[in-house]
Amino acid sequence: MSKTRTSRTRTTLSRRKFIATAAAGTAAAITGFPHIAGAQAKVIRIGMPTILSGRVAMLGNSNRASAQIAVKAFNEAGGVNGRTIELIDRDSQGKPDVAAKVTRDLINNDGCEIIIDGEASSGAFAVQEVIRDLPVLCIHTCSETSALSADPKLFVKTAFRCARQGIHDAVAGGTYAAKVAKEKGLKRWMTCSPDYAYGRDNTAEFLEFTKRFEPSVEVVDQVWPKLFAPDYTESITKILQVKPQAIYSALWGGDVVAFIEQATLYNLFGSSTFFSSSIGDPPVLTAIRQIPEGLLTAYRYSRQYPENTGNTAFADAFNKVAHFDPTNWGWQTYVAMGFLVEALKRTNGDTDGKKLAAEIAGMRLQTPLGIDGTITMRESDHTIIGYPVAWSHTVPKAPFLAGFEPVAWENILSHEAEWKKSKGYV
């Protein structure tokens, strides 16, 4: 590995010329961006920063599919006040700083008047800061981190979250897990969640409520495989050593698929009851080749719950575009578009951030995806409530889930209020 360097001669002319040309050329190109001047052009441009490459490209694909369905329906119905929607999606590669840059570009350069933010947690926080600076309407559709909407320090007037929230899932999961623990006498628990912020927070909150509702639950050990780890053997064998009666896991997507396949080899599910935050995502269920029976999972999405024709119609339309059944991200973006379209109708096509925000805050949207046919955007903290949180268990045949058990939202809300107080958020 050696390289002799050629002798170099120094010239000055070429370098200056070259750099000047490069700089001038690029600058000219950048300043020559198409810019839709002023607000209220005929077409409403909606920008969507999301992740379209890398390990979680499915997130972006889901968001895009849902948004496209909604946009198509909106435009085919003639739009509002003669205005139609154009969707511009852009890849952030999952990097928060790129997400911020892309969002600024979408607003400043491409003339997007509305942002549907399809970023995962850390990206969503970065986008939130951009919206604080450039106050267009923004709906986050993928971040489940409670703080985004619960922490008043992060509040932005024109930003909303249309996604499930960690604390809601924690109360729902805790309620369900406590009930099962009591019935089956599950006392020794273990967790196996990915080692990053979402995995840790989600697991801690789930355990907090499970223990509160069933004090006999004891966590004997926790393993934290890396996010996107290809192999879980060392975690699985560690669990085998501890022999817990129940396991909670916040692994998701391809990770939980690999975990289930590898754990099945060790017959792990024969001896422990498995609670999962994410097996309920349809692509996970279909990717697992032989799904063990009786794994318990939180709701992500299901074409059979809520049980109505509107829901299955959405699932079919989504599958046609994306070639897989809707993910959790998919329905969230779809509902977000629902809020947006309804707000646009009410403002008669005015895209002013404040006006749209005033309509969306507190809106009770009619949607087949809500458990009572509606989902509400809570006015106080700009986040949705009344979405499905039912737990279910796996069955070997498609659609692989059965026995949906809803958890009462009154319960969730009262515990959430208490939790907010304990965090000093109210």
């Binding site: 490459s53 890398g54 499915m58 290809p230 060392e234 050593q241 692509p283």
Partner: protein, 300 residues
């Protein structure tokens, strides 16, 4: 740090056996990838940063072959040979043009290939995660050894990896071809003068290296999720292995891969927080004390 748990595990037969088997499962697969990386560096002097891509190709080829044929043996062969063939192509078309050039140039070419392969797979297979599933022949209850349970498939996987490693070692150290290859690593001009087609030999060695990565991918396909870019996470780890073991040394790669396997398996019990850090620390330590790695010699 949880030394108690570690000691308790080491003194219990079932725990020790389980974790040792874990170390072997993690280590041998890693060894296959790292051995390919090491072989290519040892003979061609190229650090193949695109190696993870061949792991991915092997996995996806196996996935498709299994879907079409339903036979795992066919899938394994298709994954290995497919990746190997791709390796030969890549060497002939691209890598051969940057031999002896700046390290950075080689690095960039490999980086470019990684980007292209990842997106190529995404174009063809889509961005969704996929699972090949366990072949029916292996869907048996775990084998019991000294109170510990080891899945049958893993026994098969470890056996294949070990046998391949042994064949590779014998091939390089005990055959005429191996001798020629070793000579090629030291003095390519001389080998060329002796009438050996060095270009073909280079391509062959690169192909074998890629084949090893592909075989690891194919072996992993039934138990690991496939997504574009899966080779990426593997790359850094196999890289650590090659550096610790010594660039160019197959035996070194074997020892280092097992070392990583043991750190993972027992680290999970004793010091889960420090597993990642420890691997980098060992790599840095080895580089400081003996830059050529445990069993490496000065690079040709």
């Amino acid at each position: 740090m949880n030394l108690e748990a570690l000691v308790a595990c080491l003194t219990s037969a079932s725990c020790a056996v389980t974790q040792i088997s874990t170390a072997l499962i993690v280590g041998t697969l890693l060894f296959l990838v790292a051995a390919g990386l090491s072989l290519i560096f040892g003979v061609l002097g190229v650090i193949n940063f695109a190696h993870g891509g061949f792991y991915m190709l092997g996995a996806y080829f196996a996935f498709t072959a299994y879907k079409l044929s339903g036979s795992f043996i066919v899938a394994l062969v298709a994954g290995s040979l497919g990746a190997g063939l791709f390796g030969v192509l890549f060497e002939r078309l691209i890598i051969s043009r940057v031999y002896g050039r700046d390290l950075l140039m080689q690095l960039l070419v490999c980086y470019a290939l990684t980007l292209i392969l990842d997106d190529g797979v995404k174009l063809i297979y889509g961005a969704e995660y996929r699972m090949m599933g366990m072949p029916a022949a292996f869907a048996v209850a775990p084998v019991q050894i000294a109170g510990a349970f080891v899945p049958g498939y893993y026994l098969f996987m470890v056996a294949i990896a070990l046998a391949t490693g042994l064949l590779l070692w014998l091939g390089i150290n005990r055959t005429l071809l191996g001798k020629t290859i070793r000579a090629l690593a030291i003095n390519p001009q001389m080998v060329g003068v002796l009438g050996v087609n060095t270009a073909a030999l280079y391509a062959g060695v690169f192909g074998v290296g890629s084949l090893l990565a592909g075989m690891a991918g194919a072996l992993a396909a039934p138990i690991r999720t496939l997504t574009p870019g899966i080779g990426f996470s593997f790359l850094i780890e196999s890289f650590i292995v090659t550096v610790i073991g010594g660039m160019g040394s197959i035996a070194g790669a074997f020892i280092a891969a097992l070392l990583i396997g043991f750190i993972r398996a027992f680290g999970a019990i004793g010091f889960p927080w420090f597993v990642e850090g420890l691997m980098f620390a060992i790599m840095a330590l080895v580089l400081v004390i003996k830059p050529t790695g445990l069993l490496g010699r000065e690079a040709a």
